[in-house]
């Protein structure tokens, strides 16, 4: 049910119009950070205020919403934001990536490939990729304007000099459409290749920093690297303990104090879907194993 005391999707129509203008501009210039008038949302900065404002601006009555936090549909942040939009819009919600038309995410891209027509909204803490290298906003804007991105490689150089490989594991810097350097929000670098030529529309909202940027469908996204140290994604020593997947991002779970551990898919929907389809992992419950036999 929609809460009648609030406008559809919480924000007033003027604000949503302003947000949509910013989003349109962001889509027109892939990777470029568009400033916008960020509003107070009913939760603290850092909890996804930017993503929520973008979601509020693009959500329609017939949308199906999915919200994930670290790949999971059932964590506090995801549950709260999903319930918030259900109450403010009355739209249908889902945990299935395939069924969703609009997905708000924190820290992950769903394992199930996205399709044309879907929109993925990222929550972004710090939009400026050059921030820790150049503290002055004026200077970073000039660097973007003139594509002076050499300094970004200095950070990767330091990684290799210290650790022998590029140790940047999340929020990996990418070059969008051969032009703008972009931070892809704190997704693991495992997900970075999924941004490249993705058929879905990807929107990024940073509430505290008041920036929106976007990747239109089928945009070229290239991770920065060195010729002799090419970009690589993470690998795990074993498959998912529940569904046996070898192609998904795995979380390590400590089981006891004797070194026991398991790896499970961070994407709960993907893992569940595979288990329903009959895939089994090392630690799947025995009764389901018997049922399968």
């Amino acid at each position: 049910m929609t809460d009648q005391d609030y406008n559809f999707a919480f924000l007033d129509e003027q604000t949503k119009r302003m947000l949509r203008r910013a989003i349109l501009k962001a889509v027109a210039i892939p990777g470029y950070q568009v400033p916008f008038g960020s509003r107070e949302m009913p939760l603290p900065y850092g909890w996804g205020t930017g993503g929520m404002q973008v979601t509020a601006a693009v959500i329609g009555a017939d949308d199906v919403l999915k919200v994930i936090d670290q790949g999971a549909d059932d964590t506090t942040n995801a549950v709260s934001i999903r319930r918030f939009f259900k109450r403010m819009t009355g739209v249908a919600t889902t945990e299935k990536t395939r069924e969703a038309t609009l997905i708000q995410t924190r820290h992950r891209v769903p394992e199930t490939p996205l399709q044309a027509g879907q929109i993925l909204v990222y929550q972004v803490p710090i939009p400026e990729p050059l921030r820790w290298l150049e503290p002055r906003e004026i200077e970073t804007r000039i660097m973007h304007a003139l594509s002076e991105y050499g300094v970004m490689h200095v950070k990767l150089y330091e990684d290799i000099a210290r650790h022998g490989h590029i140790s940047t594991a999340y929020d990996y810097p990418v070059l969008v459409n051969g032009r703008y350097l972009m931070r892809c929000s704190p997704i693991p670098k495992f997900d970075t290749p999924k941004l490249h030529m993705n058929p879905a529309l990807q929107l990024f909202g940073a509430g505290r920093e008041k920036r929106i940027y976007a990747l239109p469908p089928h945009t070229d996204v290239k991770p920065l690297d060195f010729e002799d140290h090419p970009f690589e994604i993470e690998h795990w020593p074993e498959p998912c303990a529940l569904c046996g997947a070898t192609d998904s991002f795995l979380d390590e779970v400590i089981l006891d104090d004797k070194g026991g551990r398991m790896f499970v898919c961070s994407d709960t929907d993907y893992c569940g879907e595979r288990r329903e389809a009959g895939h089994r992992g090392r630690m799947s419950p025995p009764e389901t194993l018997e049922a399968a036999e």
Partner: protein, 260 residues
């Protein structure tokens, strides 16, 4: 020979004032390939202001700077777009600051500091970046094993030498130096001067050297310009000018150097 017949840099009529206080008044100079031009004068004479204008870090009120670039013909720098100016600076110029910490990234390793200008020019091969950085550390007499140490763990003299390596690694045609030996003790200064003189001649770069130290100027500079209250009062060959100063102010300057 014909490239020698034209100056690398032709500066005409630079004017700059801070409010009612003039800092540069009608300053003109020419810089030829491979030469070291010293600009001397007391504090507040406008020499650092002039250097900042040449480097594009400060806007001049009037004047023209014609630079004969390697890749883009003759460019008038004050009227050029910021993109073009910054591109030329990156490819063909260097700037050695008085305080090394202003010209270095103190939190990153020495290797990254030397590698950064190369990475800015599009060099993307880690192995060769590292080898070049090693070569340059050796060239500026810093032990190779300090390659991965941050410059904040270096002594003042090492920091300054690292800054020089970082500026020369891209083989610039012009290097601007603002008091490169300021703040260093005398023996370190002498070593740095030797090094600078050797590198400048080896790599055939043109240098504009701003200093208040006539000893430094004598050792490094081929030609000298004396500035006072924003104006050039005397210019000429270094030895000539220091041995036989004509202008009253230059005479004062030369006579006030302490002998040992």
């Amino acid at each position: 020979m014909n490239t020698i017949e034209m100056p690398l840099l032709n500066v005409e009529g630079i004017e700059k004032s801070f409010g009612r206080q003039p800092a540069c008044r009608d300053v003109s100079l020419e810089l030829w390939p491979g030469e070291v031009l010293g600009i001397v004068g007391e504090s507040g004479s406008g020499k650092s202001t002039l250097l900042k204008i040449l480097a594009g870090r400060l806007a001049a009120d009037a004047g023209r700077i014609h630079y004969r670039s390697a890749g883009e013909g003759i460019v008038e720098l004050l009227g050029a777009s910021e993109a073009q100016r910054r591109r030329l600076m990156r490819r063909e110029w260097g700037f050695v600051q008085q305080h090394a910490r202003d010209g270095l990234r103190m939190g990153f390793s020495a290797g990254a500091n030397i590698g950064e200008p190369m990475m800015a020019l599009g060099q993307r091969d880690y192995g060769s970046l590292r080898n070049t950085a090693k070569d340059w550390l050796r060239a500026v007499e810093i032990p190779e094993e300090r390659l991965d140490d941050a410059p904040r763990t270096f002594s003042g003299g090492m920091q300054q030498r690292l800054q020089i390596a970082r500026n020369l690694v891209t083989h610039p045609r012009i290097v601007l130096m603002d008091e490169p030996t300021g703040g260093l003790d005398v023996s370190v200064q002498a070593r740095l001067l030797d090094l600078l003189r050797r590198l400048v001649h080896e790599h055939n770069v043109a240098v504009i050297l701003v200093t208040h130290d006539l000893g430094v100027a004598r050792l490094l500079a081929d030609r000298l310009m004396v500035m006072r209250r924003g104006q050039v009062v005397e210019a000429g060959l270094t030895d000539q000018l220091l041995d036989d100063p004509q202008h009253a102010y230059t005479q004062l300057l030369v006579s006030s150097v302490l002998g040992v």
